[in-house]
Symmetry: C2
């Protein structure tokens, strides 16, 4: 039904923003929206939106715009949110606990089924219904459960080793919060890195820019 495979990563990275925007519109009771209104809300042009969506099929109608609920559902399907993905988290320190407690895996189509840690003081504790297990049990867990994604929230020094356990255990993706560059060999496992630095540096650029402009006035 949907065309995939040749879609640029820039388009793919915009899809979650489309979803987020449509979700907010849907929540606010919007029934339909024109590509120009959607573009305005997202800070991109209407033609960019039409071009992005054309990668995945036919959406919207000339003169009518998009049905918000339909487009939201279609994008959620393109993103695989209906596929009941499962995840395990490795490293139940502050960041790991923050994700377990406060991040809604469920809203993104994921079930967080287990967490692992090397620290005996952490093992056996439960957060938000997820019990922390000994990291030694990871291999056995991966053998006996279907796990799509491993979340790495452990110290950088242990990241590559744990990535290899995850890959050997058959995961399809790694959500990497460490700033280690993971080597996944020819496994085909997809690594999504969360780079806090990139985000802070973008902010840094804009406030520096603003500062320079103000000085120039």
């Amino acid at each position: 039904m949907v065309k995939k495979g040749k879609v640029s990563s820039a388009v793919i990275r915009r899809l979650p923003r489309y979803y987020r925007t449509l979700e907010a519109l849907h929540r606010d009771g919007a029934v339909r929206i024109s590509s120009s209104a959607l573009g305005k809300r997202m800070g991109i042009t209407a033609s960019q939106i039409r071009q992005d969506l054309s990668c995945f099929g036919e959406f919207g109608q000339q003169g009518y715009g998009y049905n918000v609920a339909d487009l939201r559902r279609e994008i959620s399907e393109i993103l695989g949110m209906d596929q009941d993905h499962s995840a395990v988290l490795i490293g139940a320190g502050n960041l790991g606990k923050a994700l377990i407690r406060n991040f809604s895996f469920g809203k993104n189509g994921f079930a967080l089924s287990a967490a692992f840690d090397a620290d005996p003081a952490a093992i056996g504790r439960e957060f938000n219904g997820v019990t922390v297990r000994a990291v030694d049990e990871l291999d056995e867990y991966l053998r006996s459960h279907k796990v799509n994604v491993g979340v790495l929230t452990l110290p950088r020094s242990a990241a590559q080793d744990m990535a290899e356990h995850l890959i050997a255990g058959g995961v399809q993706g790694i959500w990497n919060f460490t700033n280690a560059e993971l080597d996944v060999g020819d496994s085909g496992v997809f690594v999504e890195n969360v780079h806090f630095s990139d985000s802070l540096l973008t902010l840094s650029y804009y406030i520096s820019d603003a500062g320079q402009k103000a000085e120039g006035e």
Copy 2:
């Protein structure tokens, strides 16, 4: 010296990646690199790189490529990393503590000078040299210290209120980890949102895509 202001946000969002890549090359002892080799490493074309960098001036030499150390330094300056920005963090829960303890503000040109929390149990505790203060002291702190950025790692429900305190206190930017959509009015304050969901959904897309391809084989 550098042209700014009309640069597209897509280019700006690539700058931290340029910096990160050049930093790694520099660390590995690379002295110069061609635009095609840099592009290969970053997964973009050489002409994209030349086009991106042309927004900020003249870099590199025909037939020589880029001097790694120079380009790294110039990009760090464009990003404002040399401007001694200061930040305060609001919300010393798990995520806040994870940032205070493990995120290197210093490497990104920021000094994290204080943290605030509403929970009496958190106040007075020290993490990585940063003492947690009562959130009631925020306004006074902002009056008596130069603070460029406020980091919001507090519950979503308190995000807008605290953003208003930060804006009234004169910050230039807010690094927002809550998934609240902040209203900054006409303050000109720049908000950089960290959307964990967008990252996980991108990963979701790729593993779904891979799954579909595998099923089609």
